[in-house]
Symmetry: C2
Subunit: 642 residues, 2 copies
Amino acid sequence: MRSKGLPVTAFKEGRGFLAQRQKLVRETVLPYQYSILNDQLSGVEKSHAIQNLRLAAQKVAGEEVQGEYYGMVFQDSDLAKWMEAAAYSLAERENPELEARLEEVIGLLEKAQHPDGYLNSYFTVKEPDKRWTNLQEAHELYCAGHLMEAACAHYEATGKDRFLRIMERNADCIYQHFMEECPRGYSGHPEIELALMRLYRASGNEKYKELALHFVDVRGQEPHYFEEEKKRRDWILWQRPEEPVEKEYTQSAKPVREQKDAVGHAVRAVYLYTAMADLARETGDPTLKAACETLWESITQRRMYVTGGIGSTVLGEAFTVDYDLPNDTVYAETCASIGLIFFARKMLELNPLGQHGDVMELALYNTVLAGMALDGKRFFYVNPLEVAPGISGEAATQRHDLPQRPQWYACACCPPNVARLLASIGSYAYSAGEDALLIHLYLDGHVDTPFGWGLDCVTGYPNNGKVTYTFTGGARETVALRIPAWSGNTVLKHNGKTVDLASVLRDGYAWLSGGFQEGDILELELDMTPRKVYASTRIPADTGKAAVMRGPLVYCAEGVDNDGDVFSLSLDQNGGLSAGAFQPEFLGGVVPVAAEGWRTQPAEGLYTSQKPRRERGEIRLIPYYAWGNRGLNQMRVWLPEN
Amino acid sequence: MRSKGLPVTAFKEGRGFLAQRQKLVRETVLPYQYSILNDQLSGVEKSHAIQNLRLAAQKVAGEEVQGEYYGMVFQDSDLAKWMEAAAYSLAERENPELEARLEEVIGLLEKAQHPDGYLNSYFTVKEPDKRWTNLQEAHELYCAGHLMEAACAHYEATGKDRFLRIMERNADCIYQHFMEECPRGYSGHPEIELALMRLYRASGNEKYKELALHFVDVRGQEPHYFEEEKKRRDWILWQRPEEPVEKEYTQSAKPVREQKDAVGHAVRAVYLYTAMADLARETGDPTLKAACETLWESITQRRMYVTGGIGSTVLGEAFTVDYDLPNDTVYAETCASIGLIFFARKMLELNPLGQHGDVMELALYNTVLAGMALDGKRFFYVNPLEVAPGISGEAATQRHDLPQRPQWYACACCPPNVARLLASIGSYAYSAGEDALLIHLYLDGHVDTPFGWGLDCVTGYPNNGKVTYTFTGGARETVALRIPAWSGNTVLKHNGKTVDLASVLRDGYAWLSGGFQEGDILELELDMTPRKVYASTRIPADTGKAAVMRGPLVYCAEGVDNDGDVFSLSLDQNGGLSAGAFQPEFLGGVVPVAAEGWRTQPAEGLYTSQKPRRERGEIRLIPYYAWGNRGLNQMRVWLPEN
């Protein structure tokens, strides 16, 4: 069954776990990131993103440009993602100061836009004669896509259309160039495709869908556009002239319908797949749908970490090969898991299978949340599953696996990406089919359905497994509620009466057909018993090991809870796990888990034939998302089991 | 007690394990490598090393040069190492054809040498105006060092001094330049230092020792020579002008006496340390000795694989940080373990500690022997401890970890290095102090001591632990026999009477004082019980795992012996090991080991909460050096133990 997402305004946050993160984004992350984007915070990597736009506005106005462009070629996109997050937060609650800041930036965008609709601060300020000449590297369409998403979000959230009109003019300019003048070109970094689909829905203008489909179709065709472009162009950003075009990296090694494995730059991959799935849903093209299913399986069955992280290597920030999932040299970029959530959402809208929702939840509650410190002011770009201070961040192969979160990055794609995802999480939790509401995530708060009725949800999830929905109106329509595959013993009640799950469960969703009255109550009780998880023996890195999960949360052992040494710990193969009481003051409120295990006594020297002595010991585990918030220390997800 | 090595002519090989390798080198490896160096073998990486020399000879003679230089800037060194190996083999047995080939190449060297003694085919043919202007990268002194070593070997082995004289003239040219004209310069790749010490001993000329010490002393001083050189020079080989000088890579980050950790390019490191230890022995300089001991400990106590491999990363072919010893992304270059053997030999000559001999033996019987296929015609440059076809050699992070040995390499340093080490292994087995013969390795064959008496050694080591020495002359002097730390239950008999080991064992050597008669027999019986070895829990890669060893041999599980899947195997923590009977026809003659263990049944999907079923199973293990000789398949040294 096809469904479609609800507008961000349909959801009002409650007081639960994710609502706390949304509040953090609203109250801390957005002002903090604005101060960086506006160069008001010292001691962090400089952004200059807003200033770049001011310079572009001066240039377009024919004024003297008061300074130089600074930062990555895609610096505009950091600001765009922040704008998108800010817009969502306005949907949740009014904030005149933030609204004014947004209007100011929108005003700058308006001024920085050329009369023909072109809008990009890098090219306007720094390379005015080089527009569209380096699609492989220069992120022009990528930046445009992020601004389009922000514009759609702003329109959805506020109903104001100034920003939307700017980006429609920009999209028209792009349409003109790529449908007429340069019909073989497409972006080295996918993003415009999924953004055009949003713009199509916000504006109702079919030509944006047409352009999105065109960009997807033309990608990877031979003769290869980037090879031809390279011959024509006399400038580079990174790639040396003598090097061949990185086709996997730019997601252009093959036409999209011929791709069988998730390869290359992981963020680019999932951004592309998101648009493919959206178009498959929109057009009904079975070949596009089949390609999405193949790529989904490639990721989730062979190339994904237990934390929902993707991209095994820093080299090209990329997927590698099946079952190559090292825990220490891992990349697992925060943005890649965010993109995986985008892809999962579109796969759900295309076909609601529990596995799509389970993966969405896994990536969200583990890698994405780990990407931001509990205080909202530090961020991981890379999300290792194992950290040994002295090695992590130090060894040549692990320079990128930082053991602590930095405040900002020269390439700052992840921090505002986390913000926009969390600020709009309600729109991921629900989608609506023709006559059904689909519930993908359990979010404390209220949702208004397009059918005229609403649901109040109260839950302490994921700290506990109890989720209660109350109908705020009578409902003819079906409610399809995701039942996670990990929940062994699930109880679902309708007005206190237990529902026979077996009879309603299909593909990971409980399908409850209509006839709900206002005030009806659905109670879901998920099985939050902590459990050990085992990896396929095809993953060399995880053999002989187990990870601990509880609900959707992966747990980890941190040195600070385990006498400073997690590498001498092992799980007892017959040992139990026990969840502690909810600790509201610990790490922002967590349920710690204790595991029966062993501590191996340190031996002399590097290698010994003496079997090391070991003692029984309790292993103290915390949710993975909360690691790295208590100073430099060890961390490990996969523990030997013996 | 200081000792010094015996000449290569003092040892005559018998029929034992290493003698078979020496025979293989003589009969197969040397002709095979010559055919490659002389471009007579098709389908392998081209060498052109001999042809480069012919071109250089034409150039020096003022003739028209008939072709172009081909290959690495250090192509001369491949040939030099082959010449050194060939010379050693002549010490073992006459071979007029090989001798003629050597004479022909020596003749070419003579013709390629400039009147001032300069000798280097790359600079002579390709860059005649750039002599000594890129010491950081250009390997000029490195190539000279290898040719000096070859000349010394040829002189030692044959008594003929034509080659030696050529290299003395070359050393004089270098002395002149570096002691007088350019006294702050030194080589980016150490080698000349240890070679000059050999040349000093072969020629008796003290100035070569003086130059070796000068090169060691001047290294790493500030202002930094390579930084100054880089400013002066307008050409590069690899390093881009905007990059800083790679000081650790070139072993020049600090003056040698200030170095505390083994860092940078592993081969460069141990070649340097070898010269340092040799000079410490020769000069008695306690600061140099202390530096060697510190660096020895850094390697062997914190940065060495259980196989005696060193260099954890392909990035700079380098050491990384303490305890970073990944088994799959490992580098562990064959040449680095050869260099570790050089260093160990010089440490032994400086101070005979069992640990030096144990490490020498470990590196020899595992990494170095693994570097060459059993047929002598394929070679590993990189020696992984874990190989999963599909990942190894494929994943971006493991491109260098090939699962099968290639025939040759564009950078072919390792193959002839193995040949020269094996061809001269007798000179590593023994050294002589003032009044003692020190026995470091157990080699079937005969040794003549400088004291006028000899020893016949008969042994099936390392396939069995029995070593019998028969005196071929009366001996006043002490015999010090290494007793490996791994031998738990060692029996030593003198003429059938058990020696009280405790009373004679000191620092890993049994010191048996004089009074031996001709025909006296020493019988050593080492404990060859297979054993499990455990790594320090500080090594994240090996936690929860054990390796299996027997004598000096590390064992591994190969897919071909284990139903095609070693990654689902684990050792039983209470399970035994059993050594099989010696199988003379299997892998060139090995003792296989079987371990009691488990096979985990493959589970569905990537991760599962179902504890995977497992069944008891026998794990079949072979010596690590013999892996990769039966087609593409899995291999693993460290196995989970549970």
